[in-house]
């Protein structure tokens, strides 16, 4: 990184693990997560390689988060088809707005996970239990340490919405993980 300038390769190397984990936590599927990250990288190179490097991070995460939302939409459509084809009677789940309400109904309690001795899974499930916009706000603000403005740019929403989603996410996670951390 001579002179402080990043090449696109260095940039990808600096974000790819976290990007993969974000997609993996959101989808609960490593294969889907790898596809999402690869697609985000390809689109980043195709559309934004010529942009100034200080914009790469919010742009990359915007693509990534859009791909994750696309994945949720596809899941919603699939679920609907299953309902129409009579494979599932879970009408309530099918009618939910995935962007606002999707939650992992099979999420275990902290005690259950602790019994399994797998804190990591417990954290993944706690995050996955959040609506997707709250997941995004929490991951970008808390993990990527983006500013509110950068997060808003990455999520494609207002700064006020970012603050609201983040605050709700932290509150929900603390409730869910009560006893693990303060």
């Amino acid at each position: 990184m001579a002179g402080g300038y990043l090449t696109m390769e260095q940039f990808f190397m600096s974000v790819e693990r976290r990007a993969f984990r974000m997609a993996q936590i959101a989808t609960g599927d490593s294969e889907e997560a790898l596809d999402i990250v690869q697609d985000a990288m390809l689109n980043m190179v195709k559309q934004y390689a010529a942009k100034p490097e200080n914009l790469w991070k919010p742009l990359f995460y915007r693509i990534l988060q859009n791909r994750i939302r696309d994945w949720y939409r596809r899941m919603k459509v699939r679920r609907r088809w299953r309902v129409w084809l009579g494979r599932s009677a879970d009408d309530d789940l099918a009618n939910q707005d995935p962007l606002a309400n999707i939650a992992d109904t099979g999420a275990k309690t902290p005690d259950e996970c602790a019994e399994l001795g797998d804190i990591q899974k417990m954290l993944d499930q706690a995050i996955r239990s959040l609506p997707v916009r709250q997941q995004q706000a929490f991951m970008l603000r808390a993990w990527e340490e983006m500013s509110v403005a950068e997060t808003a740019r990455s999520m494609g929403c207002s700064q006020g919405s970012v603050k609201t989603h983040y605050s709700r996410a932290v509150r929900a996670l603390r409730e869910r993980l009560e006893g693990l951390w303060p």
């Binding site: 696109m8 990288m41 932290v170």
Partner: protein, 120 residues
Amino acid sequence: MKAKETEDKFVQEFKKALDQSARDLDAGTLARLTRARQAALAKQKATVVPWWQWMKYPAAGLATALLIFTFVNITRPPQDYSGPVATLEDMDIIAAADHLELYADLDFYSWLAEKQADAG
């Protein structure tokens, strides 16, 4: 204040755990991430630059040169002209063809006038 500190501590603990999970990714996943990265970068190298992209720099240079040339010509003061300049009196001569003939035969008419004077 205490609530804020507690929340910050919670977030820090969460962040540490997430960092740890990213560090602990298995070799198979890391290899596939590397392949994904290399595929994306190969696409970048293979991307053909459209003609208007590589034309824009020479075009900008040409436009700048034209702009400077035009600007200099418009703002330059008129230069002094040291050659003969037609005055209003000369315009009659220039405009009338018969007068031109008169001036062309000026020697003849001078001689004729002298002869008439001698004869008179």
